[in-house]
């Protein structure tokens, strides 16, 4: 085969199963592409020796007829997932050099099924960001560029390394995490498919915690089918995470291609924002038409508390983060900066180890949880969260099968273009995705077209809790109907 890395994950899987290619060839091809693509800064740690050793094992299992569902498939792992014996940084100076002695449940599930690890992918520090610019290890450069421009663009965030690596064909799929949009926004920015499953669908054990009631693991992949294949392996009950749902992972791939005839698709009127870009509005209308053409019927729905979701998120998520990140104190792991006594050591360590955005969020979280403000901010935000969830429940109870919205308010922007003066400017990236985390629901971003500047734009499908199968069916209809996204030429190689 001429260019192995142009295959989809499903295509590579089938070629491996029929022995047209070997796992070793596939891993070697990816390793060489990753070396040439270092300018994108998608990887924090490359693990070529590990990849080749795992691929050799895969070839043995394929020869013995013992291949797993992902046997020999090279993947990238977001550097928020702890990997046994491989540095795990969360994109932060405070964890630089941290080498876990254990493996996260989700990555362990992927290795159980035969996947091959290429390395650890760059991300916003502690997954706090929408552009991958807050990483201590430097920003990721998107493989995409505007028409007739070589200005570097962001791949989105926080799973920017995952999205960029998949779009640049540096891996066949990647793990990611999503707390307010960190899978779906970078997928939309890079013309890839990203699904945030229902809260509880994937174990959070061994994934560095940001906001525990919102964090959820999921894949970023080249196609809807590839995402379905990956999610099946990643998902499943884990006794080590008490919030992991005690449900078997369905065969998601079987839902890809399922008819959506007769489905009711909710179109929430509150997502039609004042000053919304006409391009996004057009894309959304086009998406509705594709679903009508496939036999579904759109219904206007109301999710009246939508506008409160982002402000409420910026209370709940920092509050949980301030508590989760209290553990980085220079004692058990990571960086230590000396001080005149223990409190001084803590303060110096955390000032030196955390970047600006992380310090800001810890401080906001500390403030909203502090005596006298807890009820006014935190309890109120959790009450609003109940209202947001109720909005979705009302829509689903009225017979809506899935909800269609834009994934992001714009296409990717340039490095350094947003949020330097006002942090809220960056936060607005998550306006369409964050409600889904607040309600614990599944959401998928699927490429649907290109902007006038030639950059990918995505649509989002939101579903009922634990009904990712409907999302895959609807997303596949959009993927099939949308103009094929030509991934960018390899200018970086």
């Amino acid at each position: 085969m001429s260019d192995l890395t142009e295959l989809t994950l499903a295509g590579a899987r089938d070629a491996l199963a029929t022995k047209k290619i070997s796992a070793l060839e596939l891993a070697a091809a990816q390793i060489s592409d990753i070396e040439k693509a270092r300018g994108l800064n998608a990887f924090i740690t490359e693990t070529p020796e590990k990849a080749l050793a795992m691929a050799a094992q895969s070839d043995l299992r394929i020869a013995r007829g013992e291949a797993g569902p992902l046997e020999g498939i090279p993947l990238g792992i977001k550097d928020l997932y702890c990997t046994d014996g491989v540095q795990t940084t969360a994109g932060s100076h405070i964890l630089e050099g941290f080498t876990p002695a254990y493996e996260s449940t989700v990555s362990a599930n992927l290795w159980r099924d035969g996947a091959v690890m290429l390395g650890k992918l760059n991300l916003d520090e502690f997954a706090m960001g929408s552009s991958n610019e807050t990483s201590y290890f430097g920003p990721v450069i998107s493989p995409w560029r505007r028409k007739d421009s070589d200005k570097p663009l962001v791949p989105g965030g926080s799973s920017g390394g995952s999205a960029a690596a998949v779009a640049a064909r540096l891996c066949f799929g990647a793990t990611a995490t999503d707390t307010g949009g960190s899978i779906r926004q970078p997928a939309a920015f890079t013309g890839t498919v990203g699904i945030k499953p229902t809260y509880g669908r994937c174990s959070r054990w061994g994934i560095v915690a940001f906001a525990s009631s919102l964090d959820q693991a999921g894949p970023i992949a080249r196609t809807v089918r590839d995402a379905a294949i990956l999610l099946r392996s990643m998902a499943g009950h884990d006794p080590k995470d008490t919030t992991s749902a005690d449900l078997p992972a369905p065969d998601y791939e079987a839902a890809v291609g399922r008819s959506i005839k007769g489905m009711k698709i909710g179109i929430p009127k509150e997502y039609r924002l004042d000053g919304m870009s006409p391009e996004i509005e057009k894309l959304w209308a086009q998406g509705v038409q594709w679903l009508i053409d496939a036999g579904a019927s759109p219904v206007e729905i109301s999710l009246p508390n939508t506008r409160h979701a982002l402000p409420a998120y910026y209370i709940v998520a920092p509050a949980e983060a301030s508590s989760n990140l209290a553990r980085y104190d220079g004692v058990r792991y990571g960086l230590r900066a000396p001080g005149k006594d223990i409190a001084d050591m803590y303060e110096n360590t955390r000032a030196a180890g955390f970047g600006k955005e992380v310090r800001r969020r810890i401080m906001i979280g500390t403030y909203v949880l502090s005596a006298g403000y807890y009820d006014a901010y935190y309890v109120r935000a959790q009450q609003i969260r109940t209202l947001i969830k109720r909005d979705f429940e009302t829509a689903f109870a009225a017979g809506v099968d899935a909800i269609l919205t834009p994934a992001t308010p714009s296409a990717a922007f340039g490095i350094g273009e947003k949020g330097s003066a006002d942090p809220v400017e960056m936060y607005l990236n998550d306006i369409f995705t964050v409600t889904v985390n607040m309600a614990g629901l599944p959401g998928v971003a699927v490429p649907a077209g290109l902007s006038s500047e030639g950059l990918p734009l995505g649509l989002q499908v939101i579903g009922r809790a634990f009904d990712e199968e409907t999302l895959f069916a609807v997303a596949e209809v959009i993927e099939q109907a949308a103009p094929k996204i030509q991934l960018p030429p390899k200018w970086w190689a």
Binding site: V331, M363, I364, I384, T386, L387, P423, M438
Partner: protein, 95 residues
């Protein structure tokens, strides 16, 4: 609500993050920008609404109160910035 500079210093201390005098004014601006952003929530009618405690209705699972792991002290201190004989070392805390 907005924070003054004394409050910024107090929050930083509660969060155990050292801030320099130069940091305080811009931190104050940034925190106030976020607080202004969330201010509209004060106008939402939340009377009688239960605060969310679990995003999906699931009973808290509890495992047996039994030892499931142990004897891995080497692994536990392996990433410590300073350790001695399976203990984490910290600056002196008791005079």
């Amino acid at each position: 609500m907005s924070v003054d500079q004394a409050t910024v210093r107090r929050i930083a201390h509660l969060a155990r993050i050292k801030v320099s005098d130069d940091d305080v004014p811009h931190l104050q601006d940034e925190l106030n920008a976020i607080l202004r952003f969330v201010e509209e929530l004060g106008a939402v009618d939340v009377a009688g609404v239960e605060p969310m405690t679990s995003v999906l209705p699931m009973p808290m699972k509890k495992r047996l109160d039994a030892v499931t792991d142990g004897s891995i002290a080497d692994k536990i201190i392996a990433n410590a910035p300073e350790s001695e004989d399976h203990f984490f070392k910290v600056p002196k805390v008791v005079e």
